[in-house]
């Protein structure tokens, strides 16, 4: 089937080039196409009429893998093995019948370009509408710096500057769009190599969960850029007259229409629809924080002015093994407690994009500074039903009676999961954060007392 003809001179490939290409062709095809059932099982679960940006992201994020776990370099090894075998068989069957693979190379590059564009656009929009690294929660603002792990600090540090995150997202979106055009693809791939090279290094340094995925995208970009690599080196470094690519596909008849239609559909779905859905999601359904509302007008940092444990009042103490030191109510249904009781770290560093509140663990991940509870309000009985957000404490579920004697005061009482009876009087603190105070007016260029 010949769907493209070309203008410009045809090239001749030698035997090793052809063999290498056949292997590469199979390898990249297996890498970029969703060829296993796990992809389709997710696809089957998607609620299409209620399609959410999280679904599009999770599908776009998919890579071929042979185990149930996250993507690993062993998957690459297996794919490469298959590609070598397939490539050699192909070489045997072909036996000099083809002069070149210019056309197939073109189509392979198209596939890889679109696969890479998809990946970048998926990430670009969740940064453009700063979802990926949200502004730190009140609990995080009231946690010591050293109580976060590297990955969490990386994310929090990005989260405090939504404008920078938006900028990074914009770079990704523009790069993605440039990849959709043959003539700008190499430039886009080069920009992406610089950009994603940095992301890959960050993943290594901060122990992020995207090391394999970011390197995967780098290999795709390298493949795309390699098309023009020699030309660019010749022009810029050797400073010699350089001829351009002379393979130009020309589409005719139905293919002309089909090409425009497919391209438009891609842009419509992955740029317009996904963009709009991410934009509305940023306001109504952020994926890092729960969407359920917390206790009305309670958000803030609270001093634990009275703490009664099993009937005995415990005075303030920074070293008591159980006494609550302070408590935070978030805008949403999270209550976090600072105490001396050690916290087992939820060290998940994989980037998950959950839809349901139960899967949203961002606030408690990567920190051992506080105990995080999600709660359900039973306003009839004035009760909070608490359950620990940290998966290490799945049995830490209990009920506390609440009362609010005045605007700034909350009293909690009940029996904890460890069978301790607690009564805590919480008083809201007028806490000012330097992070926010220093950003006002002239920024750092002034005197401040805090």
């Amino acid at each position: 089937m010949d769907i493209t003809s070309q203008t410009g001179a045809e090239s001749r490939w030698n035997a090793p080039e052809k063999t290498a290409f056949r292997i590469l062709f199979v390898y990249l095809l297996l890498q970029v196409l969703p060829l296993d059932w796990k992809f389709y099982s997710y696809l089957g679960k998607v609620d299409w009429p209620e399609l959410a940006y999280q679904d599009i992201f999770n599908l776009a994020r998919y890579t071929t893998r042979f185990s149930a776990g996250p993507a690993a370099f062993t998957d690459w090894g297996i794919i490469f093995g298959i590609a070598v075998v397939a490539g050699l068989i192909w070489t045997y069957r072909d036996a000099g019948r083809t002069d070149n693979y210019d056309k197939l190379y073109y189509w392979l590059r198209v596939l890889v370009r679109y696969r890479l564009a998809l990946a970048i656009l998926a990430y670009g929009f969740i940064k453009f509408f700063p979802l990926q690294a949200p502004y730190p929660s009140l609990s995080s603002l009231n946690t010591p710096y050293g109580a976060f792990n590297r990955w969490k600090l990386f994310s929090l540090s990005l989260g405090i500057v939504p404008s920078y995150e938006l900028f990074l997202g914009l770079v990704e979106i523009v790069t993605g769009l440039l990849l959709l055009h043959r003539k700008t693809a190499s430039i886009a791939a080069f920009i992406f190599l610089i950009f994603c090279g940095n992301i890959f290094m960050s993943n290594l340094a901060y122990e992020g969960g995207d090391t394999v995925y970011s390197l995967y995208l780098i290999t795709l970009a390298l493949f795309i850029f390699s098309f023009d690599l020699l030309r660019v080196v010749r022009l810029l470094v050797l400073q010699l007259p350089t001829a351009p690519n002379n393979f130009r596909p020309s589409f005719t008849g139905g293919w002309k229409v089909g090409r425009v239609a497919l391209k438009s559909a891609f842009v419509l779905f992955f740029v317009l629809i996904y963009g709009v859905k991410t934009g509305t999601g940023a306001r109504k359904d952020p994926y890092q924080y729960p969407t359920a509302k917390g206790l009305a007008a309670a958000a803030g940092l609270y001093n634990v002015s009275t703490y009664v444990l099993n009937g005995d009042t415990v005075t303030y103490s920074p070293s008591h093994p159980k006494r609550w030191q302070n408590v935070v109510f978030e805008e949403w249904n999270t209550l976090s407690i600072r105490s001396n009781e050690p916290v087992l770290l939820d060290s998940n560093n994989a980037h998950l994009v959950p839809k349901a509140d139960t899967g949203k663990r961002y606030e408690s991940e990567g920190t051992n500074g506080r105990h995080y509870y999600s709660y359900v309000i039973d306003s009839v009985h004035q009760r909070l039903l608490l359950s620990n957000r940290n998966p290490h404490y799945q049995h830490d579920v209990f009920v506390l009676q609440y009362s609010r004697p005045s605007a700034g005061r909350v009293v909690l009482a009940g029996i904890t999961a460890a069978k301790d009876s607690v009564l805590a009087v919480l008083d809201k603190l007028p806490k000012k954060y330097l992070l926010e105070e220093a950003a006002k007016g002239e920024g750092r260029l002034r005197k401040l007392k805090l």
Binding site: A205, V232, L238, T242, S317
Partner: protein, 547 residues
């Protein structure tokens, strides 16, 4: 000496259809633009303050400090006869650029007018363009290398001290948070340094200039945005490199566009002068000297700095037995016990002795803050303030001189109402110091009187001074430099700090009793018990300094 002759690459026909794009004469507007650009980029590539020249002349080449070379590579430039404002605004620090553009435009037009008048107009400026690029290449190259080496040997963004690790995330400025986020991963900082030094190195060679410029523009473009987003204060200096890189790219970007986007053949035009023997020797000599100085010597000096004297963190080791985190178990002031209460405004809440000679404690009370980025080139440990800059939460930090014979600590506040001027040669767009520490502060200076100063001078008794020893020499002798000596010798001037003296009793450092008089002349009795904090943050294997 140097004969400049036009040697153009021969226009080898690539395809028969392609006309030769090599042009030998420049269009009129190109020449006018070039004249303006010439004046502008020359003005912006050479130092504009007398301090820079003074420091260069005063250099003691036998006892160099890394900062001596850094200060050669980092200077204020552009035309600033009219100050750093234009139309009454500093334009976020860019006013100087605009002034330079206006003057360069005037100069360029005047130049055009004169050559027209005298009928001496040239057909092209290949030769001058080449030399302008040389100036800009080397300016950008040494500048970014000076900058990059403080990352390549990671000292620009230090690993957080215990005092910072114990500070709440919300009690830090955005700027501080960004710098810490690099400081916690020294290997990543090295990577960033390698990129910057590589970009600078590539600019030293004609054939790799474009690659270097692309790398420079990409890396520094991001840093510009980071500085705006995090209020980092180095946006002007980082934009400066983007500007220089942009100029260097003017030559090749159209070619790239033509080759890749338009898919047309390209014949690059690169004019290189032909040198005679002496010219060749001079060129090779100057180039080798630059590379030796800024890649060889600077690397060595920066390595010494990293190993023994990391510039933002104090270099002198603290008392070994005391180091660590402490709970304040008992606190008496004027013999009155104050029980622990997180809201109390007098009582210390927690304390640290750092690996170096800093003692910190936390009091729930507002304190005046130092919001600079803790940069600059302080030599004395008491002026190395990274531990307190951009940080609130009631944290106080004191530098101490330890008399280990008498078990006495002489502490002085690291916070200083009028900090010393930093980055003298850096001019506008220095290390992002605040107005206060750049000396532009309009508020009246705290009045000093002689009595104060005399008290300041003899606050440590002579016997104790003998036990403490001279701080200047307390780092590895290989790291001692003329600059360190000079700064220590000039020390006691304008030192108005809060000070106090305590005696410490301890056997193994787990339980420490401090007795003495605090900075407000109150009697102090404090019991500290060591506490093991379980940080989620794991330190890197790479640590700066020797403690």
């Amino acid at each position: 000496m140097v004969t400049a002759a036009t040697v153009l690459q021969e226009a080898a026909p690539v395809t028969k259809a392609a006309p030769s794009p090599v042009k030998t004469a420049w269009k009129g507007y190109e020449k006018v633009l070039f004249r303006i650009a010439f004046i502008f980029f020359i003005a912006i590539s050479i130092p504009n303050t007398p301090e820079w020249y003074a420091q260069l002349i005063a250099l003691d080449w036998r006892h160099l400090n890394y900062r001596d070379l850094y200060d050669i590579a980092r200077f204020g430039s552009g035309i600033n006869f009219f100050g750093n404002k234009i139309f009454g605004t500093s334009l976020l620090g860019y006013a100087n650029w605009l002034t330079t553009v206006l003057i360069a435009t005037g100069g360029g037009l005047l130049w055009t007018w004169i050559v027209k008048l005298r009928k001496t107009e040239r057909a092209e400026y290949f030769g001058l363009y080449y030399w302008l690029r040389v100036v800009v290449r080397y300016r950008a190259g040494i500048g970014i290398i000076g900058f990059g080496f403080t990352k390549l040997l990671p000292v620009q963004m230090p690993y957080p001290s215990l005092g910072i690790l114990n500070t709440n995330f919300g009690d830090l400025t955005a700027q501080k948070i960004y710098w810490l986020s690099i400081g916690i991963v020294p290997w990543y900082q090295i990577f960033a340094g390698v990129v910057e030094v590589a970009a600078g190195t590539l600019l030293f060679f004609r054939r790799t200039t474009t690659l270097g410029a692309i790398l420079l523009a990409a890396a520094l473009g991001d840093i510009v945005y980071v500085n705006f987003a995090y209020d980092g204060g180095v946006h002007v200096y980082s934009s400066y490199f983007v500007l220089l890189a942009g100029f260097l790219l003017v030559n090749d970007v159209p070619n790239i566009y033509r080759l890749l986007v338009q898919e047309k053949p390209v014949v690059p035009v690169n004019y290189y002068p032909v040198f005679n023997r002496a010219g060749k020797a001079l060129r090779i000599g100057l180039k080798s000297f630059t590379i030796f100085l800024f890649l060889g010597v600077l690397f060595y000096l920066q390595l010494i700095n990293f190993l023994y004297d990391p510039y933002k963190q104090p270099a002198v080791a603290g008392v070994k037995v005391l180091r660590g985190n402490y709970n304040v178990t008992e606190f008496r002031i004027n013999d009155q016990v104050i029980p622990y209460n997180p809201l109390d405004t007098v009582r210390w809440q927690e304390a640290t002795f750092e690996n170096w000679s800093t003692f910190t404690f936390r009091v729930n009370k507002p304190h005046p803050l130092d919001l600079s980025n803790g940069g600059g080139d302080p030599q004395r440990d008491v002026n190395r303030t990274f531990e307190i800059t951009g940080l609130a939460g009631g944290q106080r930090a004191f530098h101490y001189y330890a008399d280990e014979v008498e078990h006495t600590l002489y502490l002085e506040d690291k916070y200083k109402a009028i900090p010393d001027r930093r980055n003298r040669t850096a001019g506008v767009g220095g290390d992002g110091g605040t107005d206060v520490n750049l000396g532009n502060d309009k508020t009246p200076a705290v009045t000093r009187n002689d009595k104060d100063e005399r008290q300041q001078e003899d606050w440590i008794p002579a016997a104790a001074r003998k036990n403490i020893g001279d701080e200047y020499g307390k780092i590895a002798s290989i790291a001692l430099s003329a600059r360190r000596k000079r700064d220590y010798a000039a020390a006691p001037k304008n030192e108005k700090r809060q000070r106090f003296v305590v005696q410490y009793q301890t056997t193994d450092g787990n339980h420490v009793i401090l007795t003495g008089t605090d900075e407000n002349k109150n009697r102090l009795y404090v019991v500290l018990d060591r506490v093991d904090r379980h940080y989620a943050l794991t330190p890197s294997s790479l640590q700066a300094g020797k403690y």
